[in-house]
Assembly symmetry: C2
Homo-oligomer: 306 residues x 2
């Protein structure tokens, strides 16, 4: 924890804020448990994913049937349990919020977020499978739509708005935070997409090149395809999405994507979205302390290392 985060003493934080923040965290964890089943991910935050843990439990005890089926079944139920608990935690917190109108507003924002991120996840897995049957010219647009729903609103915009609503923000303040949060969230995910292809496993906690094995249809990949020659396109089509890619194949794909200029283009997009976010933050009718904090958040997104 850095000094800026330590400004509010723990005993000054109202219990309802702890409950509502925990509700967001538990909802997020539930989504990740299900996401890891969907993406067939072995690891999460550098440790085994939930379904792999259940799978290992099955194998260790030599239970009947296949470990993999047990792993995903148990993790589906674990995620369901956590979805319910996140909801209970939120209600517990909201019940104690002094202003009823603020509590109601925060609940509506949470509900919208919950629906939008789930639909965003669906758009993501649909795009991974169906992109070839959709117009190539809309590839980047569709990738951006996935980012908006799956990441930008969910990871940045909604939590900001929920927190502000809880504390009685005005409609103008909420709108200002929305205008700041959306482009910042997009920039955040564009950075994450770069990390998914070029990131160091030690930093990201995920195997290097994981997005290539998964065949994620990101803005980065759309731009790489636009710049690719016919033979490079064939290479991308053959290798991207192959779960068995070895490190040499990952390196070859990284080189191809980099050489076409897609990385620079994504970096420019990140700059543009960060600029948009910064301008929205400047214009937002919120206090200077909040602005300074959110400025720090912006810095974090810009700086995330490969």
């Amino acid at each position: 924890m850095d000094s800026a985060e330590a400004e509010i003493p723990v005993d000054m934080v109202p219990p309802w804020l702890v409950s509502t923040a925990s509700a967001l965290e538990i909802f997020h964890a539930a989504a990740l448990v299900h996401d890891d089943i969907i993406d067939n991910s072995d690891t999460r935050r550098g440790a085994a994913s939930a379904h792999r843990l259940f799978e290992a439990m099955h194998a260790t005890h030599q239970w009947a049937g296949a470990p993999a089926g047990y792993g995903s079944a148990a993790a589906i139920l674990l995620g369901d349990l956590m979805l319910g608990w996140s909801d209970e935690l939120l209600d517990e917190g909201l019940d104690a919020v002094p202003d009823r109108r603020s509590a109601r507003r925060a609940r509506l924002e949470f509900n919208r977020m919950r629906t939008e991120v789930t639909v965003g996840q669906y758009l993501d897995i649909l795009e991974e499978r169906a992109w070839l049957t959709q117009p190539e010219s809309e590839l980047q647009e569709r990738a951006l739509r996935v980012i908006v729903y799956k990441s930008a609103k969910y990871s940045v915009q909604a939590p900001l708005v929920i927190g502000a609503a809880l504390c009685g923000a005005t409609t103008e303040q909420l709108d200002g935070l929305r205008s700041f949060g959306l482009p910042l969230g997009i920039a955040y995910q564009l950075r994450d997409d770069l990390l998914g292809v070029f990131g160091d496993a030690e930093v990201t906690g995920k195997p290097s090149g994981d997005d290539l094995r998964e065949g994620k249809r990101t803005v980065l990949m759309a731009l790489a395809r636009e710049a690719a020659s016919a033979s490079e396109l064939q290479l991308l089509d053959t290798l991207v999405g192959d779960p068995e890619l070895d490190s040499a194949q990952v390196a070859l794909l990284q080189h191809t994507i980099q050489a076409g200029g897609a990385v620079e283009q994504v970096e420019r997009l990140i700059d543009d979205y960060v600029r948009e976010a910064t301008q929205a933050l400047d214009a937002a009718p919120i206090g200077s302390t909040a602005k300074a904090k959110l400025g720090q958040l912006t810095e974090t997104v810009i700086r995330r290392a490969y």
Copy 2:
């Protein structure tokens, strides 16, 4: 709809009752969507299960990757979406319930039900895999515990209590309904377990002998094992849980289970639990119209045909 159900005109039903009842229905549908992935079920209510529908969509459009992975991924998200919506529907209904204390009580009962059924589901899939490594002498007890959490509380007890709480029932009335609902719910599931082994596909909407292919560790199976000779036990161990069982093997297992007297024993258990439920209903401090309706519900559970 029979004449008894038609007694309340539709325009007399308060909107909050429609919303709360719909919330239970959507929660149930969400649980079934996930349950069908977990149990690898092809059909539900005589039609294709959700994950098989998504799988078919994938195959029809010849999208990239394996249809099965897309099917379960999309159905996990569909279930998540419905879990969220059931929650919103419930809040929408509860907000309009005239008595705040009743609304709060109903919400707590719903939350408990949501947790208990999910844990009951987990106990069920755990038992399917781990039963061999647990004491054989506790087989029936463990199967009964699964029934209590996965079915009896969820399918009968909780919906009764939630409905009554919404309408301002007293603590004594809620306790009376609990004492009625639990044994009735157990009887209901014991009947369902018989149908899972002996039921007609045309009546149940599920392939005959499905519980045998799934290897469900029911009270029926526990009693069948107790009565089995060494060679019959070997037969049960070899075949039960084999997803590829053909109709001759299903018939052989049905004969073995029936010959040992397990079916009669389960029928006697059903009678005992129905008697307990009936006595609890007689003793419950509720009105005569409600008693008559719940008596009809009891009849339905007794009568369900093979």
